[in-house]
């Protein structure tokens, strides 16, 4: 179900904001849908649209950045609510990679489960990329196996990712399936584990 991620090359859109929260990524009026798809049209809705019309000043709306697949942002990206609608919207819009100095916890987790690779780089590297990405033709290539980010200008950086997440993402694996390999152990555990409220269930 998740697209496996091996390597990716794409244009970079610089979103110069820190603490971009999930309310901004996908405003709550779009959380009422009960499907997983089709959220891309609502991505950054309140920034992208002004009274139903496209806000021309917002970077994602500039024609030259429209086909970018790598999002560059400042620290603490994805803070706020746990809504997985945020990575759904980013993915559906066409982003496969997000690069920022740091990410909020739940968002970071959610990204992997939806085939998006969040990459943290050092502040100086981020600053440099912000300069480079002023040129809409600027491209980055991400190689997940070797954990590198390379630019069309010779920029090169490596990034950290734990082996497990990397493997799951590369294979596009379903985590539930992998946990159920240990189903017997879960059953064993349950036999000796005490949960007090269960005996008060009417």
């Amino acid at each position: 179900m998740i697209k496996p991620f091996d390597s990716h090359t794409g244009k970079v859109v610089p979103l110069d904001a820190a603490n971009v929260d999930t309310d901004a990524i996908i405003p709550k009026q779009f959380l009422k849908r009960i499907q997983k798809t089709g959220f891309g049209q609502f991505l950054f809705y309140d920034w992208r649209f002004e009274d139903g019309k496209e806000n021309e000043d917002f970077i994602l709306n500039k024609p030259e950045y429209k086909d970018a697949s790598i999002l560059l942002a400042r620290k603490n990206f994805g803070c706020g609510s746990s809504r997985e609608h945020a990575p759904w919207a980013l993915e559906d819009y066409g982003f496969r990679v997000i690069i920022a100095p740091s990410f909020a916890d739940i968002f970071y987790n959610n990204s992997f489960k939806n085939g998006i690779l969040p990459i943290s780089l050092e502040n100086e590297q981020i600053n440099y990329l912000f300069q480079q990405a002023e040129d809409p033709e600027y491209q980055l290539s991400i190689d997940l196996k070797n954990q590198t980010v390379k630019g069309s200008d010779g920029f090169s950086a490596s990034f950290e990712i734990d082996d497990y997440r990397k493997w799951m993402l590369m294979k596009g694996l379903d985590e539930i399936g992998s946990t159920l390999i240990n189903e017997n152990e879960i059953g064993q555990y349950e036999k000796q584990h005490k949960i007090y409220y269960t005996s008060s269930r009417s």
């Binding site: 009960i34 489960k113 879960i186 349950e190």
Partner: protein, 474 residues
């Protein structure tokens, strides 16, 4: 070497561990609501999976429901669909649902403690970031995404990496006239909005021990606003006293066994935390946020800061925030007018919060041009407040008195702050657009919100002339 409380809970719930992989952690209590669950149930159907432990799963409706007229049809068709989907999912998968007709309905983080479901030492998850609230009981509680909701439904476990631990030692006592909300806002202001990212944070010290359960919940609720994975407070007599006698609390011999067990839940004296910070509670004053994240906060007697005064890495964000919130540097906080007042949300909608707000409101009228509403956290809170006469105090003053739900905390129902309006809110997030497009949110305590409603502007509640409530029916 000793263990921290977090490590003790972790060890008790570790089902499986393998090198180079996250551990499999057992989940004791899974709370479900209408917004983050439909896609998870859909996932189960698509892959032909069942809910492993429906008996450890509880659902309610809170986020998108109306708080005025709750009978079908809703004005908002899409919200109704979501509520209907939850109803069907709970029936199909045999999960207990506290729906809009249930006496147990309410905001998910209000009802679980109220029913006695939240207990020390448990692992608790919910598709909602403010699950951190339950950490007030010494439970390891955190928010998860919808894929993880599906994972817990299917396996009753989660794959988790162990978090780093952070101890926050709170010294001294909260000054008179300040609240748990001011305490947590002060800490976020001091340490920063993303300070605790990746950590499980334990609140320690006398100031914490003296807090009631409601106040501890307010503090833990906002742990996530400091970026923490979860907040924890060591369970003690206050905790046990709160749980005792509630619907799902252990009874008789089980109660004694439970207490013995829960008393083991503390960080050993020789346990080591990855990070330790101290905070002086004596510094706390009534707080009002001036920006668009909870760390952008000032004391009621202070002025809106000018971005240049702030550390360089905060200046850009501060400029953007002030632009959005429509305040000039140097403006006195206590001269800032409000248009809307919202008392509610999982941070501050429990009975104690409503009592404190009512104490301020009693004998006064809501200022002209201010729209003020109280949205109780649960059906039970609502009923109790009505019995105690609190609802009369609010309505006589000109507040709207609503049914339980999240309401204006996130504006998914019709309770929305209009563009450009300024709202004093007891909720937990002042993000752009949180309470409505272009809505300007200022986070405050229930007392400060109540006083702002009366004055029509922020005001120092420490100077409030409280008119004693006669014949209170508590």
């Amino acid at each position: 070497m000793g263990k921290t409380m977090y490590e003790k809970i972790w060890d008790r719930h570790l089902v499986h561990e393998e090198k180079g992989q996250p551990g499999i952690l057992y989940i004791d209590l899974h709370l479900v609501h209408e917004v983050t669950s439909p896609q998870a149930f859909e996932g189960l159907r698509v892959s032909g999976r069942k809910v492993r432990r429906p008996d450890l799963t509880f659902a309610t409706m809170d986020h998108s429901i109306p708080t005025l007229n709750r009978s079908f049809p809703f004005k908002d068709e899409v919200a109704q669909k979501q509520v209907e989907a939850l109803d069907k999912n709970c029936r199909d998968f045999e999960i207990e649902l506290y729906d809009l007709n249930s006496r147990n309905q309410g905001i998910v983080h209000v009802i679980a403690p109220e029913l006695g479901l939240t207990q020390p030492g448990q692992t608790i998850v919910c598709g909602d970031s403010h699950t951190s609230t339950h950490g007030a009981f010494g439970a390891l509680a955190f928010g998860i995404g919808t894929s993880e909701v599906e994972h817990v439904l299917a396996t009753q476990t989660l794959k988790q990496y162990k978090s780093k631990t952070l101890a926050i030692n709170i010294e001294g006592e909260l000054p008179q006239g300040t609240t748990a909300k001011d305490l947590i806002l002060s800490m976020i202001g001091k340490f920063g909005h993303d300070f605790a990212t990746g950590y499980v944070m334990e609140y320690r010290g006398d100031a914490i021990k003296k807090l009631s359960m409601e106040e501890r919940m307010t503090v833990c609720n906002m742990s996530i606003e400091m970026g923490a994975r979860a907040g924890l407070i060591e369970p003690d007599e206050t905790t046990f006293h709160y749980i005792k006698g509630r619907q799902f609390a252990p009874k008789e011999e089980e109660w004694e066994a439970a207490i013995q067990d829960w008393k083991q839940l503390y960080s050993d004296a020789d346990a080591s935390f990855d990070e330790v910070v101290t905070f002086n509670a004596e510094e706390v004053t009534p707080k009002v946020t001036w920006g668009t994240n909870p760390g952008q906060v000032a004391g009621i007697t202070e002025k809106v800061p000018s971005p240049e005064e702030l550390p360089e890495d905060q200046q850009l964000a501060a400029r953007k925030a002030l632009d959005y919130i429509g305040l000039k540097p140097g403006t006195r906080i206590d001269e800032t007018p409000v248009d809307v007042v919202f008392i509610g949300s999982c941070t501050n909608s429990r009975i104690e919060d409503l009592r404190k707000a009512a104490e301020i409101v009693n004998g006064y009228k809501v200022a002209e041009n201010v729209r003020a509403l109280v949205v109780p956290g649960s059906y039970q809170v609502k009923k109790q407040a009505e019995q105690e006469g609190l609802s009369d105090i609010f309505t006589e003053a000109g507040f709207e008195w609503r049914e339980a739900g999240c309401s204006m905390c996130l504006g998914m129902n019709e309770d929305i702050v209009q563009p450009g309006e300024r709202c004093a809110s007891t909720s937990n997030r002042n993000f752009e657009g949180r309470q409505g497009r272009k809505a300007r949110t200022h986070l405050v305590s229930p007392e400060m919100a109540a006083a702002a409603a009366i004055e029509g502007k922020f005001t120092d509640v420490r100077n409030w002339n409280v008119k004693k409530i006669e014949g209170i029916r508590q």
